[in-house]
């Protein structure tokens, strides 16, 4: 009997373990780094994570609300959402490490945790934190990560784009100064374009990241800081290019410009071009044929009907 009870208890523990341990097997906490801690979520989740902020240009110490929306993933299970300053598995990814102070977390209680967990995830949800900005003028970045279990596996999805914040005025930033050379702000583009940035810096640059509409495209660690962008991957309309540079001292600088994609006009142009080429070629053949016939008819008249 005791053996049966033991087996039953083991089965319960083994079967429930992946579901119960969404992140460090825990509840909301304020000490969760990006790194995996007690329960590594190594499987890529089908969930999508996006972020919005009430304001991205802040004065030092100003409050801002950051909302993290998770859609998809394993409904009915535990879902954990974490707010961090980097998506690298390194220490000091806590918002407090960069000078942020969490005033309130999504639990609507007095807690100020960077990690929030819901026990019965409905398939989508939005989780809001209110923070005060760092006191040092600089550019800052916040990211979010969602973690959940399911089918005996531990899944995670990141908001790779994160959100960029400027604290203070750009003139007093300590990070590298980024200038986007092409495309120029407001330019209408089509096809493949080169996104080119100039990032002069007295301190060696660690990397520069290209983001389109907040979605990270490519990370470069060396010059030239230029990227080829196929605009046909984007919808026609206005988009935002963001180039964020981080120097070896961890200082962040960024620049973003809006541009407009209009591939429909380019496709129409190409269609008209092909039509014109085809019509022109047919017209030339027709003109030459008609003139040959005319020449032969004149010759027939000159020659008095001789063949």
């Amino acid at each position: 009997m005791s053996l049966l009870l033991l087996l039953g208890a083991l089965t319960l523990v083994v079967g429930a373990a992946p579901v119960m341990t969404a992140y460090q097997g825990g509840v909301g906490s304020s000490y969760n780094e990006y790194d995996c801690g007690g329960s590594c979520h190594t499987k890529v989740s089908t969930a999508t994570v996006s972020m919005t902020a009430s304001n991205t240009t802040l004065t030092p110490g100003a409050s801002v609300t950051v909302s993290v929306t998770v859609t998809g993933g394993q409904a009915g299970s535990i879902m954990g959402v974490i707010l961090v300053t980097t998506l690298s598995p390194v220490p000091e990814s806590l918002p407090s490490a960069k000078g942020w102070t969490i005033i309130s977390d999504p639990s609507n209680s007095a807690s100020t945790f960077n990690y929030h967990e819901v026990s019965n995830y409905a398939g989508s949800g939005t989780y809001a934190w209110t923070l005060t900005a760092p006191q040092t003028n600089d550019a800052y970045q916040l990211y979010a990560r969602a973690m959940h279990g399911g089918g005996g596996q531990a899944f995670a999805a990141n908001c790779e784009a994160g959100i960029s914040f400027i604290v203070g005025t750009s003139g007093t930033l300590t990070g590298p100064v980024v200038a986007i050379i092409s495309p120029i702000a407001g330019e209408t583009v089509d096809g493949s374009i080169i996104v080119s940035a100039s990032i002069p810096s007295s301190v060696p640059l660690a990397y520069a990241v290209l983001r389109i509409d907040g979605v990270e495209r490519e990370n470069k660690t060396a010059t030239p800081f230029s990227w080829t962008l196929n605009t046909e991957e984007l919808s026609d309309g206005e988009h935002v290019i963001n180039v964020t540079a981080v120097d070896s001292g961890g200082h962040v600088g960024y620049k973003q410009v809006s541009f407009t994609v209009d591939n429909a006009a380019a496709n129409t142009l190409m269609l008209n071009w092909v039509w014109t080429m085809a019509a022109g070629s047919i017209a030339i053949i027709a003109i030459v044929s008609v003139m040959m016939v005319v020449a032969l008819l004149i010759r027939r008249r000159i020659a008095g009907g001789a063949k």
Binding site: D190, G191, S192, A266, T268, L269, M270, L271, N272, W273, W275, T276, M277, A278, A279, G280, S281, I282, A283, I284, I285, A286, I287, V288, S289, V290, M291, M292, V293, V294, A295, L296, L297, I298, R299, R300, I302, A303, G304, A306, K307
Partner: protein, 234 residues
């Protein structure tokens, strides 16, 4: 590995060279024909030179045109790799150059067709000879225009710019029709083509053989044969 733009430059030189040779030869034949036709009023040495050379020029004109068309096709092929699609779509001069090159290829093919269909005998029929020379002239002009556009692409300007400025032609502006108008042009052209074929059939023009005996009432042209004997005075 040689860059494809180098191959394109090479094939462009090739077709430009052959077609220029063809143009020069055909124009030389036209002048020689006139000199021979008007031999009573021409210096004897000029007439003698025309008689001796026109046959060779005539053949060289055809050979140059055929090789030039092959060069044009090669240029189109190498150009496709030298100019990526994105550059093509974004540069109106490149689009114009490709389009006019296509037109030039069709026109030079017309030159070769006329010469191949009617042989040297076409020179005995003044209307056909005039068409042959005029088509060669326009085809060469079109080739020169594409060359000028190529110079704009690679050098930012061309020696023909004063001419373009004079006639008010802007090489950087798109020479593109609206697709509806282009379709109308194509339909009308096809109609004209069918009509010309119908007329040719109606008047039995497909069987025509051009030679001195069949087309001599107005202008007494003779064939530019390869020969050394001075034709007898008529």
């Amino acid at each position: 590995m040689i860059d494809m733009s180098a191959w394109h430059a090479l094939t462009a030189e090739l077709h430009a060279g052959f077609l220029t040779m063809s143009f020069v030869c055909i124009m030389a034949v036209a002048l020689a024909q006139i000199a021979v036709r008007l031999r009573r009023w021409m210096p004897k040495i000029l007439v003698s030179w025309a008689v001796k050379t026109r046959g060779y020029f005539e053949a060289a004109g055809l050979v140059g045109a055929v090789l030039g068309i092959l060069g044009l096709l090669l240029s189109a092929w190498t150009g496709m790799y030298a100019w990526p699609y994105d550059v093509l779509i974004n540069d109106p001069i490149v689009r114009n150059k490709i389009m006019l090159s296509a037109f030039a290829t069709v026109m030079w093919t017309g030159v070769v067709f006329i010469r191949s269909r009617f042989g040297r005998g076409l020179w005995t029929c003044s209307p056909m000879a005039a068409l042959y020379v005029a088509l060669t002239f326009v085809s060469f002009g079109l080739l020169g225009t594409t060359g000028s556009m190529g110079a704009h692409i690679t050098k930012g300007g061309s020696a023909m710019d004063p001419i373009w400025n004079f006639v008010g032609f802007e090489v950087t502006s798109d020479l593109i029709l609206n697709s509806n108008i282009a379709a109308l042009v194509a339909i009308v052209s096809m109609g004209a083509l069918v009509l010309s074929l119908f007329v040719a059939k109606r008047y039995d023009l497909f069987q025509v053989k051009l030679e001195a005996a069949t087309c001599q009432r107005l202008f007494k042209w003779d064939e530019p044969r390869i020969e050394y004997e001075m034709p007898a005075k008529k």
